[in-house]
C-alpha cells in the first residue's frame, strides 16, 4: 500500500515565477492538507481540501491556491514567488473520521532565488 506521494522532490525557481506541486494521498483517504515548513520551524497549515473544495484555510495570502481532483489527488499552486516562499512543502492525507490523524508525504523542497 503506497503512502502519500509528492512531486517533484526538489524545485528551484526565481522570484515572480509560478510553481505547481502535486500530491497523491494514501489509498482510501479523501482529505488532503498542505503545510509549509520553513527551516527550523514546525509546519504551518496552508489549506485543506475535501470533496474537491477548500474546506479550511490557514493564514496564507491568495497567492497560494489549490485544487483537488476526483481521484482525491491535489495540487498546490503558488503565484508571484517571493524569496520567503522557500521552504519544505508537505502534503498530508486523512479520512473524515480520522480525528486529526494525518499521514505526511516526503515533501517538496522549494528554493526561490
Amino acid at each position: 500500500d503506497a503512502g502519500v506521494t509528492q512531486s517533484p522532490t526538489h524545485l528551484i525557481k526565481t522570484r515572480g515565477q509560478q510553481v505547481t506541486l502535486r500530491c497523491s494521498p494514501k489509498s482510501g483517504h479523501d482529505t488532503v492538507s498542505w503545510y509549509q515548513q520553513a527551516l527550523g520551524q514546525g509546519p504551518q497549515f496552508i489549506f485543506q481540501y475535501y470533496e474537491e473544495e477548500e474546506r479550511q484555510r490557514g493564514n496564507f495570502p491568495d497567492r497560494f491556491s489549490g485544487h483537488q481532483f476526483p481521484n482525491y489527488s491535489s495540487e498546490l499552486n503558488v503565484n508571484a514567488l517571493l524569496l520567503g516562499d522557500s521552504a519544505l512543502y508537505l502534503c498530508a492525507s486523512s479520512t473524515t473520521s480520522a480525528q486529526g490523524t494525518q499521514y505526511f508525504g516526503p515533501g517538496t523542497r522549494l528554493l526561490v532565488l
Binding site: P43, Q56, L90, G100, T101, Y103, F104, G107
Partner: protein, 112 residues
C-alpha cells in the same frame, strides 16, 4: 490559531538515558498528534491521543494527553541513537476541520 509550546527546544543525551518532552497550550484540543521528522523528510506519525488523561505506549515511548486536553508529554525510556530526530506535537480541533497546529519541535540527539 492555537499556539503549542514545546520544551525543551534542544536535547542532547547519551544512549540509555531517559527523557521527557513537553507540549503545552492554553487551548483545548480535540486530538493531539506526535510526529518524528528526519532532516529533509516528512513527519512520521507516532501516535494520536484523543481522550483527556489517555496514556499510550509504543515500545520505549510513552505518550500522555493532559486531563484538560491542553497539554501532552512524550517520555522515552533508555534512549537509543536511532531515536535521534525532531519530535513535533500537533493539536487539532474538530471545528477547524482537524487542521494541525504544530509546535516548533524538540530536536533530540542521542549519542552512543
Amino acid at each position: 490559531t492555537q499556539l503549542l509550546e514545546q520544551s525543551p527546544q534542544f536535547l542532547s543525551i547519551q544512549e540509555g538515558e531517559n527523557l521527557t518532552v513537553y507540549c503545552n497550550s492554553s487551548s483545548v484540543f480535540s486530538s493531539l498528534q506526535w510526529y518524528r521528522q528526519e532532516p529533509g523528510e516528512g513527519p512520521v506519525l507516532l501516535v494520536t491521543v484523543v481522550t483527556g488523561g489517555e496514556v499510550k505506549k509504543l515500545k520505549r515511548l510513552t505518550f500522555q494527553f493532559g486531563d484538560a486536553r491542553k497539554d501532552s508529554s512524550l517520555h522515552i525510556t533508555a534512549a537509543q541513537p536511532g531515536d535521534t530526530g525532531l519530535y513535533l506535537c500537533a493539536g487539532a480541533v474538530m471545528d477547524s476541520g482537524y487542521a494541525l497546529n504544530f509546535g516548533k519541535g524538540t530536536s533530540l540527539l542521542v549519542t552512543p
